[in-house]
């Protein structure tokens, strides 16, 4: 049986640094897909995840509820992913996205190509919309789980997801 987050955090703070590996393995698996989907690039996701774990280790003594290390770590990871997106400087606010015109995006596209279209469309979302859509439709989390992890209210998260869906439908142009 695996020790709880709180037990592991206590052991690490007591000097048993190797115990930190338990948290790294646990949350690399738990949030890895979120990181990749959020930043849209494997290498950048690995960098964000690694930096998040190191920052979490540095600040471990400030984790007020060690039994909820996962939620605390997720917020650090979210900030790292947002930093990656901000550094790219190619994120276009939704308000500036031109409505698509011409041929519909799905005409003649195979499934994988449409997946690529989805990925390209997601790159045009705001970071908050993108992370909310990823958590809801890629990770398959409930709004309550999302609220717990992000520290944001359910209504606000629904709004982000709804706007993300609307934008994606518009951008991809074919999801009728």
């Amino acid at each position: 049986m695996q020790p709880s987050d709180g037990t592991v955090v206590h052991r690490v703070l007591s000097g048993d640094v190797e115990q930190y590996r338990i948290l790294v393995e646990r949350y690399r698996a738990e949030f890895g897909r979120y990181a990749v989907a959020s930043v849209g690039d494997l290498d950048a996701a690995q960098d964000a995840m690694q930096e998040a774990f190191i920052r979490a280790f540095d600040a471990l003594a400030t984790c007020r509820d060690p039994d909820r290390f996962g939620a605390w770590f997720f917020r650090i990871l979210t900030n790292q992913c947002r930093n990656v997106l901000a550094r790219r400087r190619d994120t276009v606010p939704l308000e500036e996205v031109d409505p698509p015109g011409g041929a519909r995006a799905d005409e003649g596209l195979e499934r994988g190509e449409l997946g690529a279209a989805l990925e390209a469309a997601m790159a045009r979302l705001t970071p908050e919309q993108r992370e909310a859509f990823v958590m809801k439709h890629v990770d398959g989390r409930s709004y309550e789980e999302m609220a717990e992890l992000l520290g944001v209210g359910v209504d606000a998260l629904k709004m982000r997801v709804h706007r993300a869906r609307d934008a994606l439908r518009s951008l991809m142009g074919a999801l009728r």
Binding site: L13, S14, G15, V17, E18, Y20, R21, V24, R28, G32, R33, A35, V36, A37, L42, A45, Q46, M49, Q50, F53, I54, R55, F57, D58, A59, A61, T62, R64, N79, R82, N83, A86, P100, R104, R111, G112, L114, G115, L118, P127, F133, H137, V138, D139, G140, Y143, K158, V161, H162, R163, R165, D166, A167, L168, R169, S170, G173, A174, L175, R176
Partner: protein, 213 residues
Amino acid sequence: MNEWEGFGADAHRYLDGEPFEELSGAELAAADRLAAEARDWAGRLPRLDPALDEAVMAAVRERAPARRRRGLGWLVAPQTVRFRPIWVPVLAAAAALVLWLAPRGRRAEVVLTPVRAVSDTVFVRFELAAPLARTVSVAGSFNGWQVGALTMIRDARGVWTATAPLPVGEHRYEFVIDGTRWVPDPTAHAEVDDGFGGRNSVIVVGPKGLVRS
């Protein structure tokens, strides 16, 4: 619903797994397709390399201080008592009373946090546990967000502290670790967006002391 516009409210309810009233076949198909594409895309996402775990552990080992204490060393090691900034005026008043009552000439071993509460300025003590940091400072609206303007002092357990006179009013701040890493105060009761993807901590100082941190 025009395909270039968003989904209707019922389509969103459907995608959220909530009861909905009316949904056209086209809307239903569009909603199903978006959800299916997202799932399909998720299934094709590359996985993080498990070698990342060892890279993290290697970095962590380098940063870990010698935390082990041997024998009864903890008895003589400096200890820190954590308390929130809101208690600073109270504790300082108590310490001042003890000093006033104590025999003169025996105060050399007592180090007081210089705290006073006047009508326009209150001394506030900041504290952050960061055992692996090399330097920590407080940058905020009260010192022009200058890194290093208010440097903190580390104790033996890795808890950093600094005291500063703050004017009455609301102030925003962050801790700056090793000169580059900005982190909010984990004990602050309020935070606001800093405009750069991070969060600023908020402290409110009243004429009679700290109102809220």
